[in-house]
């Protein structure tokens, strides 16, 4: 029974695919409607806010640039984002919006915690906030 069904289904699929092409609708089976895109760039002000916020004095001040979803965890950890004496420089040109509310941008940390990082950002109330980081590939 299953084999016969598969043959039938395949036949139906071929027909559907042909028709879909003819309709011009395609057969894209993506996860849903296309989201309204937020302009894919990081303003100078946002860059500055992130750069300063990461090395702001005190965990509670740094928390202002951390996304609400992970802020409690960050505050509980009670540790600064970067060692004292570190500095962050964001490469704004590398900013890439990955989804309607998420983005990634590369940055360079100088000082004790030095190195390149990919900052994972989420948009909250019109601002891009830090939700995570990883080393760039």
């Amino acid at each position: 029974m299953a084999g016969r069904r598969r043959v039938s289904v395949m036949a139906a699929i071929v027909a559907i695919a042909v028709f879909a092409a003819a309709c011009g609708g395609g057969s894209k089976s993506g996860p849903g409607p296309v989201m309204t895109a937020v302009p894919g760039r990081l303003t100078a002000g946002q860059v500055q806010a992130l750069e300063k916020g990461v090395t702001a004095p005190g965990v509670s001040v740094e928390a202002a640039i951390v996304a609400a979803e992970v802020r409690p965890g960050f505050l509980r950890a009670g540790r600064s984002l970067l060692p004292a004496g570190s500095a962050l420089r964001i490469d704004a040109a590398s900013f890439r919006q990955t989804n309607a509310g998420t983005a990634a941008v590369t940055a360079t940390v100088t000082g004790p915690g030095g190195g390149r990082w990919l900052l994972l950002l989420v948009r909250e109330d019109g601002r891009w906030l830090l939700i995570g980081t990883r080393r760039p590939p």
Binding site: V9, A12, F19, S27, S29, F74, E124, G132
Partner: protein, 513 residues
């Protein structure tokens, strides 16, 4: 591979539907030429796999949303079906198939009601052939909700009975719904309809066909019904408490660090169903207990937030490329999940005696087989001296191969009454033990009255108010028992024990010198 193709066809077919409903209406009938199981049953045909159940318990596999029966065969020799087949004492019957209706809600006549018919048919066939009259069900995802419907008269109409189920194993069934279901659109929305958790889950499921269906537009009836707190879910009765359940849930952890500092972790269930939902019908408060029951939380592994599609421009990482050992759509092919399923089925079977080579006999047949004489029509009175042939039947089970029964060689006169034409009894040679129950056998008791081993079992038609058959050592007699409909040993053991004990005492006093 074939399974993958079939799964792909499901998606493509839906894409076609969305693109052009009119043509899809024309094309779909071509994909639905195979008659449904319910139709076959309605036509009087026996349910698939209803033979060879004398010494094997039927195992029925029920697939989930946007899936098909082929999913159980995925992996070939390493499929879930193969893993279950390796368990002694079971027979995997043809999978329950609602592929053509797999985005409809379980109330659809091809799903819950058809499943009820299958369960009833298989359980009856098992009983007729001398088996325990029960079915083991393994259900993935929405398949578990189909089982709930099948056992609920309000949902299935002619529902299956709880007593016909030996064990239900659920693999991440969304008993209380899924954050993903029916919340279109979700993906890409930070703090979207389903919140951040559903955003993460949506991000993991980009490569999962089942997930895509959740976000499809328009949302299918099943996806809408499986939304958390949906009216459809509220209207679906829970499984009867007397049904033993082994509930399985997968757990994927998403961890997050900022400059190496751990700041958060999220438990996203198996990516589609959260643990609370998957385990909601597991054993608790004395319900759903019994041989093979339990619950398991299986770790699928941990992934980093940064690995999710949310933070990738392109290409979208396939969930299968992440270091996860399981995911909602891969649980069936996971060796760990298969091992757990097989283990719990094995546990159930081990506790369930199988009447090997022991067809049910009518009282007249039994009397004749024993060398006695039977006269008259039911109620049949049998008077004579006989001993049951030593190997007429053995009470045998995997834990007790070969029987090991205590045999009685003496004989006495018994009064054998069969007040129910067509009623069937089986000869059991009993272990002489003082236990009041055979562990794990809900419809059989062994008791010891005056030092004489007695075994009793309830006929398969017990729930409809039939007779209780009592075997006195190696003789059999029937005694009148009219148990309350729907009451089983698991539900009211004290009452049933009292009835049994009283009846047994009466029997003993009547027939023993």
């Amino acid at each position: 591979m074939a399974a993958d193709r079939d799964k792909e066809t499901a998606v493509i077919r839906r894409a076609g539907l969305a693109a052009c409903a009119a043509l899809a209406v024309m094309l779909l009938p071509a994909a639905a030429v195979a008659p449904g199981r319910a139709g076959a049953l309605a036509g009087g045909a026996p349910c698939p796999g209803a033979s060879g159940l004398a010494d094997k318990i039927p195992v029925l596999l029920v697939h989930g949303f946007t899936d098909g029966p082929f999913t159980w065969e995925d992996g070939g020799a390493h499929s879930m079906t193969a893993a279950i087949r390796a368990v002694p004492g079971v027979k995997v019957v043809p999978e329950f198939d609602y592929f053509d209706e797999n985005t409809r809600w379980v109330t659809d006549s091809h799903i819950g009601p058809a499943l009820a018919a299958d369960i009833t048919c298989l359980a009856s066939a098992s009983a007729r052939q001398g088996g325990p009259g029960k079915v083991i069900i393994v259900a993935h995802s929405m398949g578990g909700l189909a089982v709930r419907c099948a056992l609920d008269p309000a949902c299935a109409g002619k529902a299956a009975k709880a007593a016909q189920i030996g064990l239900v194993i659920t693999l991440d069934t969304p008993n209380t719904g899924s954050p993903l279901a029916g919340t279109t659109p979700v993906k890409g929305h930070y703090k979207g309809n389903g919140g951040w958790l559903s955003t993460l889950m949506a991000s993991t499921c980009d490569s999962s066909l089942a997930c895509r269906e959740f976000f499809g537009a328009p949302v299918s009836p099943a996806a809408r019904a499986m939304a958390q707190k949906s009216a459809d879910l509220r209207n679906l009765a829970p499984l009867p408490g007397s049904v033993p359940v082994f509930a399985m849930a997968g757990q994927i952890m998403v961890t997050d660090t900022v400059f190496g500092l751990p700041v958060h972790s999220w438990d996203i269930g198996d990516g589609v169903v959260l643990e609370d939902s998957a385990l909601a019908e597991g054993p608790a408060h004395g319900a759903h207990t019994g041989p093979g029951s339990g619950q398991a939380l299986l770790s699928c592994g941990t992934i980093q937030l940064s690995q999710l599609d949310l933070f990738h421009v392109s290409p979208i990482p396939r969930i299968t490329s992440l270091s996860l050992t399981c995911y909602h759509t891969s649980e069936i092919t996971s060796p760990a999940w298969q091992a757990d399923v097989a283990s719990h089925i094995s546990e159930y079977v081990a506790s369930t005696p199988v009447l090997r080579s022991c067809p049910y006999l009518s009282a007249a047949e039994a009397g004749a087989a024993a060398g006695g004489q039977v006269s008259g029509r039911p109620p049949v009175k049998y008077t004579g001296s006989f001993g049951v042939p030593a190997k007429l039947c053995e009470f045998d089970g995997p834990k007790n191969p070969g029987g090991g029964m205590h045999e009685y060689q003496w004989s006495i006169d018994v009064s054998l009454t069969d007040p129910m034409p067509g009623a069937r009894a089986a000869y059991l040679k009993t272990r002489q033990q003082a236990n009041t129950e055979i562990p794990g056998v809900p419809n059989m008791h062994v008791t010891d009255i005056s030092g004489i081993g007695l075994a009793a079992f309830i006929s398969p038609a017990y729930d409809s108010g039939s007779q209780m058959y009592i075997l006195l050592s190696n003789r059999i007699a029937t005694i009148g028992m009219q148990p309350r409909d729907g009451v089983g040993f698991g539900q009211e053991p004290p009452l049933v024990r009292q009835r049994f004990a009283a009846a047994a005492r009466e029997l003993v006093s009547n027939i023993l010198p």
